[in-house]
Subunit: 347 residues, 2 copies
């Protein structure tokens, strides 16, 4: 590992309900083979190899998902799992990881439940972001906005920093549709995909400046923690006191050193079944099938079944998911409501 | 039982694929609770009670379905099951039943897989048909045509026979859509629902006149048959020689004594999942659910599940059936193609 290696910090928190019933509380989205052959978690590790300048990963997860993380950890990769006793959002998770690394290391914070089609574009953006991070910037990936999405936060591009990226002029919360359309027309806005590059020392200093309590409690949780080799357990009492807050609120929206690198890399947060259909390889009729199915006169239909055969006739823009004791059938437009179904809420 | 009682002859043949996967070769449509609380077979027996002038039923079925017939036979009803060693269509089945009855008995031939919403209207039509049958007519129920259906045969009404019914001017095979529309506009056509009233002696004489071989072989099969009390087994060798032909082709289209009684009785042959949705009680949004389901923003959706919960969002005019290892999702318009699915064909 070179001294300038980038340390992937992979966040495996949350359970999510929007890909129910395939995704369940006991087996959430990162650990499912949703696009291609591997799981989203496996793909996240796989796109950060030593050959592209990455160090061994640090994965931050909860006790509930530890089993999945370790089962899907590739042999020989090394690295560490930080096991959180409970969920405390991203500011705390990133702080723990930072405190396990040297001050001058650069870390790349990666959600584990996104799909990135263009691996090379990701790695180029990571190198640019890492270079800005070494210069003291707190760097977000600015995902090229492809549609007026109302489910994402946006970054407004400020002045250029050399040819590596831009200052962030403004962070914008999830906009309504009119504003999202304006952002898209304006062209100076990008999606905030939750991928960040930080120099460890800079991040911890900014966290201490803007959220001193979180910084101090995270430091105490690490000081009271213990390692059993590949797993690190933060001290439970100190950890339990950490305020739950996102890194966006706690640090990014407050720091004067926010930057962004543009990233056009076939990114999707696979935020619902419709987004998954878009990310998938499809046949000539636009259908995507996983499992046994018989389609007659269907277009733009996604079928996922873990056993029973699904026979479908005459459907257009419909998603069918069979998973154990649950069957979901929704229009693509209705896919955004899946998380509100009683099955998803009460799983 | 009065001497003028009507003898129900209930035909339980065929397996059918159009309500797959709920209907399977091993448990076909008559034996399923599709509308209301009982099965179609139970409802067929139930609408022919002694109080309305009916004798104990004769049921003609195959060995494969005998178990279902006997399991669903109401206690205390009496009657006989004729067990066919193989399927030989309706001419043979009706001939066997006729030969188990006295010459002057009137029989009412009833398919066991239709739904009739208006039981009183059925019984009134049966009484009228029986009276015409006693006068020597071979009587079809002429089901009031409600739509330009291309899946049924039609009866053209001829001159009136008193105030009981009409001569049949012509039998028409399943028409194309243009002709079906003409029939509906004309008003002088009714659907041939496969319900018939015959005096036994008249039927056997007409069968002998038009299909002497079938008549002779049926007579031999009954002569060589044996009864074990409630079941009658035709002689297998003679039965195997009977030509397979429908009563429509063999007798009704050839006889000079074809008559019809009009019947407007909420009839449906439940010919596919769409027809079942129409026959069902539905909620305000037009949905009908059997089993556990969670519907959000759905209209005119039929859900049948034998176990798994079905969650449906935003669907309109869609049928969802979950049955063991098979899941069917079809548009209502596509329901007519269900029988051609590989699951239905290869069950």
């Amino acid at each position: 590992m070179s001294e300038t290696a980038i340390h992937p910090v992979v966040l495996c928190g949350g359970s999510g309900t929007r890909l129910w019933p395939r995704s369940r509380a006991t087996k959430p989205k990162p650990f499912l083979p949703l696009v291609g052959t591997g799981t989203l978690f496996e793909a996240t590790l796989d796109r950060c190899p030593p050959s592209a300048g990455f160090a061994a990963p640090i994965v931050v997860t909860g006790t509930a998902h530890l089993e999945h993380v370790e089962a899907q950890w590739p042999a020989g990769v090394g690295g560490e799992v930080i096991v959180e006793p409970s969920a405390r959002n991203t500011a705390a998770a990133i702080a723990l990881a930072a405190l396990r690394l040297p001050e001058d290391a650069v870390m790349l914070v990666c959600p584990s439940d996104h799909h990135i089609a263009d691996r090379s574009a990701f790695q180029r953006a990571a190198l640019a972001a890492a270079e800005l991070a070494r210069e003291g910037w707190l760097v977000s990936f600015g995902i090229e906005a492809k549609a007026p999405e109302t489910g994402f936060g946006y970054l407004q591009r400020g002045e250029a920093i050399g040819d590596l990226g831009f200052k962030v002029a403004r962070f914008v919360e999830k906009p309504d549709l009119d504003r999202a359309r304006q952002f898209l027309a304006d062209g100076g806005y990008a999606w905030n995909g939750g991928i960040f590059a930080f120099r460890v020392g800079t991040f911890l200093a900014e966290l201490a400046a803007h959220r001193p309590a979180i910084a101090a409690q995270a430091r105490a949780a690490v000081a009271e923690g213990h390692s059993d080799g590949s797993r690190f357990y933060p001290g439970a009492d100190a950890f339990a006191r950490i305020e739950s807050e996102s890194v966006d609120y706690a640090v990014m929206e407050n720091t004067a050193r926010a930057a962004m690198v543009p990233a056009d890399m076939g990114w999707s947060d696979i935020g619902n079944w419709d987004a998954l259909l878009v990310a998938r390889d499809r046949d000539e009729e636009g259908n995507s099938v996983t499992g046994t199915a018989d389609l007659v006169g269907c277009r733009n239909v996604l079928i996922e079944t873990d056993g029973p055969r699904v026979s479908a006739i005459g459907l257009e823009d419909v998603v069918i998911v069979v998973d154990g004791d649950e069957v979901l059938v929704t229009t693509r437009a209705g896919a955004q409501l899946v998380g509100k179904l009683s099955g998803a809420v009460n799983q």
